[in-house]
């Protein structure tokens, strides 16, 4: 996975996305702007973060899960 390494920790790009979500609900476009990552990477990364339980999707926007928030404290 591109955002979560095999040991379960977020990669550099995964951490960037999680940090971008610290401010609250964001769309993939807003996260791409905040992180400087290409939009396609953000979309696929959010899929991984959501599947791993580190982020949650609400409609077309994303937020940190409790687990995700703990990881970047």
């Amino acid at each position: 996975m591109a955002c979560i390494s095999p040991d379960g920790k977020p990669t550099e790009s995964g951490s960037k996305m999680l940090r971008a979500l610290q401010a609250g609900l964001k769309s993939p476009e807003e996260i791409a702007k905040d992180t400087g990552l290409p939009l396609f990477r953000v979309r696929s990364g959010l899929r991984e973060l959501t599947q791993s339980g580190l982020a949650k999707q609400r409609d077309d926007r994303y937020e940190l899960s409790e687990e995700g928030a703990k990881l970047i404290k």
Binding site: A2, L39, S44, G45
Partner: protein
């Protein structure tokens, strides 16, 4: 023979929606829909660690900043494993100092290759030929180029096509042979006799009523 027949049944065409995919790449699992809203150049190469492909990857990397300015992403593909791709791009960077910044699909089961008609059995039954699919932000195929295994692609032409397509979309015009940005563009042909007569009065540069050019 049955396998060969299967390989040539899927040939996407210009104007059709690009076949959806979910694929393992050097940047993780990617879906076609992840690229929605951007232009995408999906291109295949025969194999990693081969000479012509290496020159092409270096050339694609060099035009990548220009492509990004135009809102275009690159996505490579070959029938190799992701480990092979990673080893190859690391080798290219080590030997040539050129970093490959875009993802490459590891299409070991040939799912994407077959959906896009990238395997031409007359050239190779196992490797993809050098295909280029230019896909627009609505995920419609706008251009298809095929090059043989022995001929490396022309990056200037790929950039020129992107410029031409984007100019066409923005201004509802066409572009003449060998057009370059800044050159005159072709005004769409008239549909009625009245339009043909009016057009001659509009100050376009007209060879005749059906071939008129204008500056943008």
């Amino acid at each position: 023979m049955e396998e060969v027949r299967e390989q040539i049944t899927h040939m996407p065409r210009i104007g059709e929606p690009a076949p959806a995919f979910e694929a393992v790449t050097t940047h993780g699992k990617l879906k076609l829909e992840d690229f929605k809203g951007s232009w995408l150049i999906l291109f295949s190469h025969p194999a990693d660690f081969t000479p012509v492909c290496t020159t092409e990857f270096i050339a694609f990397s060099k035009i990548y900043p220009e492509l990004q300015k135009r809102g275009v992403e690159l996505l490579g593909l070959s029938v190799d494993s992701v480990s092979s791709h990673i080893a190859w791009v690391r080798n290219v960077e080590e030997k040539t100092k050129v970093k490959i910044p875009f993802p490459i699909i590891a299409d070991l089961n040939k799912e994407v290759s077959l959906d896009y008609g990238m395997i031409h059995p007359g050239q190779s039954k196992t490797e993809t030929v050098r295909c280029v699919f230019i896909i627009d932000p609505n995920q419609v195929i706008r251009t298809i180029l095929y090059y043989p295994l022995t001929t490396g692609r022309n990056m200037d032409e790929i950039l020129r096509i992107i410029d031409a397509l984007q100019t066409t979309d923005k201004n509802s015009v066409a572009t003449p042979a060998n057009w370059r940005p800044g050159d005159m563009v072709v005004v769409p042909p008239p549909n009625t006799q009245e339009m043909a007569e009016e057009r001659l009065k509009q100050g376009y540069e007209c060879t005749d009523w059906y071939l008129c050019k204008k500056k943008l």
